[in-house]
């Protein structure tokens, strides 16, 4: 994985010193809250319902055991012994003291981490495929390109004050595990005539106005990667709506102009930029790619796994994916214990995962946008020992992509923007559906506590949106969304429910699905085949 050079370390260390000074000036009264707020947000420090919250960037969701141990240390020393992995592949701490924020950033910097660009109207932490470098189906590893974007976008003076926040995702496979069509820019590595390039989507997003991104370029040669991103950002920076926060995302600009006209303007801008030579030299790309060279895989390993332990067999079937190298596998650690809080992990669990990654996965860990963790390179012969290690730490939940593997934002239990709680709904649904979840198979339930959609409810096969109805929590039910390569937006099916009512409604939807499905059909397939009416009838009578 990437290691900081002297410049990376210097700018992160300088930022720590700067923020220490800013915190001291706030505590001494030199800064008012209005003056301090934009400064703390530039360092990922929010004021949430109960305390300050620190969002730490995990670039493209990749980290090593040393960094995981530091995350555990921070949870234990400065927070309340746990962290929350988010849908942006980051981690959040919910109980941070302002007086200690500088110390935390210094501890993070000591392991090449920071909280920069986890807030504000800038290019946010780049997200990617959690199976990058391991997936059997990838054209190329997206992480060097995500790292190039990280370096290019960090403190980029032209793009530090965009009309609104800006999210980019990069994948290297036809299978989309990063929801690229629901990002401001979605990039897919593709090959054409032996040359590597990118398919470019622009203007996707969730939130108040959910939109599937438009493909504005089928093949961008990889050598022009940065200049084309810069052209997109320049068009957006110039014409994005700064007069209305609800219309400021690039998706609104692309929609208002039309994808074709937006693409034309990007091409025109790109022609101006190309002669400036801002694209990264081949040597620099190769330097970055060198950090992502495959680990020293063994050859000649056996491909079979002893599945005589039935609990282990269930976990392998559900949580283990094919690896591109024979004898290896990709193992996903579900952070969704039934009745637990989606994405939360204790300090002890985080440390255990660091141990297991060092022992069994070439010291690599990935965070998924579905709030789970991945050990990407595990010898099949080690899977049983890994599973035992996970089981002993209550981390062997064999429910990946099943009904209880629910994405949920922190909701009104933590978030100052939320209108309703998300976590209790996720817990109630998981408890209700876990006993029957192997029957429907893949079912993606996603819950947000407000219209900002951090819980990706628009992309849920079943989505739930919490709203405030006359001061009470109310939940709208949506069906038919997908964040995968077959991206679609879930639609609200009718009037909302109480917390108990929405759990009952989901149960009725699944009951109707079981009546209507054909052999092997997922809920999403059935929904797309029969439409919403049978499900509305089941729910509302």
């Amino acid at each position: 994985m990437y290691r900081y050079d002297q410049y990376d370390q210097a700018i992160v260390d300088a930022r720590v010193d700067e923020f220490r000074d800013q915190v001291a000036r706030r505590l001494s009264g030199e800064f008012t809250e209005d003056q301090f707020k934009p400064l703390r947000l530039k360092n990922g420090l929010y004021l949430q319902l109960h305390a300050y919250m620190l969002r730490v960037a995990i670039p493209y969701g990749t980290l090593d055991g040393r960094q995981m141990r530091m995350l555990a240390h921070i949870a234990r020393k400065y927070d309340r012994d746990y962290g929350h992995f988010t849908t942006r592949q980051n981690i959040q701490y919910n109980w941070i003291k302002l007086e200690e924020a500088g110390d935390i950033l210094a501890d993070l910097a000591s392991v090449e981490m920071h909280a920069i660009q986890t807030s504000g109207n800038c290019i946010r932490n780049i997200s990617s495929d959690q199976f990058a470098g391991a997936a059997a189906d990838e054209v190329g590893d997206p992480r060097p390109w995500a790292e190039l974007l990280r370096q290019w976008s960090t403190f980029h003076p032209e793009f530090s004050y965009l009309p609104r926040k800006f999210k980019i995702a990069v994948v290297g496979s036809d299978t989309d595990r990063a929801a690229i069509q629901l990002h401001d820019i979605g990039l897919q590595l593709v090959e054409q005539g032996g040359e590597l390039g990118f398919k470019v989507f622009v203007g996707g997003g969730m939130g108040r106005t959910p939109i599937i991104g438009a493909c504005i370029k089928d093949f961008l040669p990889a050598r022009h990667f940065l200049s084309y991103q810069e052209a997109i950002l320049r068009v957006y920076n110039r014409y994005g709506r700064r007069d209305n926060i609800y219309k400021a995302r690039i998706k609104i600009l692309v929609t208002e102009l039309g994808a074709e006209e937006f693409a034309r303007q990007v091409e025109a801008e790109w022609r101006e930029i190309l002669p400036l030579g801002i694209d990264a030299p081949v040597a620099e790309i190769e330097r970055i790619e060198g950090f992502f060279a495959p680990p020293p895989f063994e050859t000649g390993l056996a491909d079979d796994v002893d599945l005589s332990d039935p609990d282990f067999a269930v976990w392998v079937k559900q949580n283990v994916h094919a690896h591109k190298v024979p004898g290896y596998a990709i193992a996903t650690i579900s952070l969704k214990p039934v009745g637990g809080i989606p994405g939360d992990a204790s300090s002890a669990q985080i440390e255990r995962i660091a141990d297991l990654a060092e022992r069994y996965s070439f010291d690599e860990i990935r965070v998924t946008h579905a709030q789970n963790l991945v050990l990407p390179h595990v010898r099949k012969a080690d899977l049983y020992a890994l599973w035992q290690g996970l089981r002993d730490a209550d981390l062997a939940n064999a429910n990946l992509d099943l009904a209880s593997d629910i994405i949920a934002c922190p909701g009104l239990d933590y978030c100052s923007l939320a209108n309703a709680r998300s976590i209790p709904v996720a817990q109630a649904l998981a408890e209700r559906l876990a006993p029957i979840e192997r029957d429907p198979g893949e079912l993606k339930i996603k819950i947000s506590g407000c219209i900002n959609a951090c819980g990706h409810h628009h992309a849920g096969h079943i989505g739930i949106l919490g709203v405030d109805r006359k001061g009470e929590e109310n939940y709208q039910l949506l069906l038919g969304g997908s964040g995968a390569e077959d991206a679609s937006l879930a639609k609200i099916i009718g009037p909302g429910f109480t917390q108990d009512g929405v759990v009952e409604a989901v149960d009725k939807v699944l009951g109707r699905y079981r009546e209507l499905r054909t052999d092997g059909e997922r809920f999403l397939d059935t929904y797309r085949r029969v439409g919403v009416d049978p499900f509305k009838a089941a729910v509302y009578g």
Partner: protein, 97 residues
């Protein structure tokens, strides 16, 4: 009734105006009537509180109960972690919103 709340500047903890200072417990909050804005301004200027604001509440048997669900959650802590809820309120872990 109207009560005044905010966050402690250094720790970020939720606090409630008691008439003499700030308490972690909503049960200690007092009715500020029409004086909330003035108290908030003075206390914020003195850096004894961060981002204070006045909310509606009703008088309950154990003290004020915030009218809005968001402030009720603030008054007890996350409703999904008994161990993180405020110990002083025995109902905190199972607070019915």
């Amino acid at each position: 009734m109207k009560i005044l709340t905010g966050n402690d500047l250094g720790s970020g903890a939720v606090v409630w105006w008691t008439g003499e200072g700030w308490s972690r417990f909503v049960a200690d909050a007092v009715d500020v009537d029409e004086h909330g804005a003035a108290i908030a301004a003075a206390e914020e200027a003195a850096r004894r509180v961060n981002a204070p604001y006045v909310i509606e509440a009703s008088a309950g048997p154990d003290g004020p109960v915030p009218a809005h669900i968001k402030d009720r959650v603030r008054s007890v802590g996350p409703t999904v972690r008994d161990d993180l809820a405020l110990a002083r309120d025995p109902r905190a872990g199972s607070y019915v919103i």
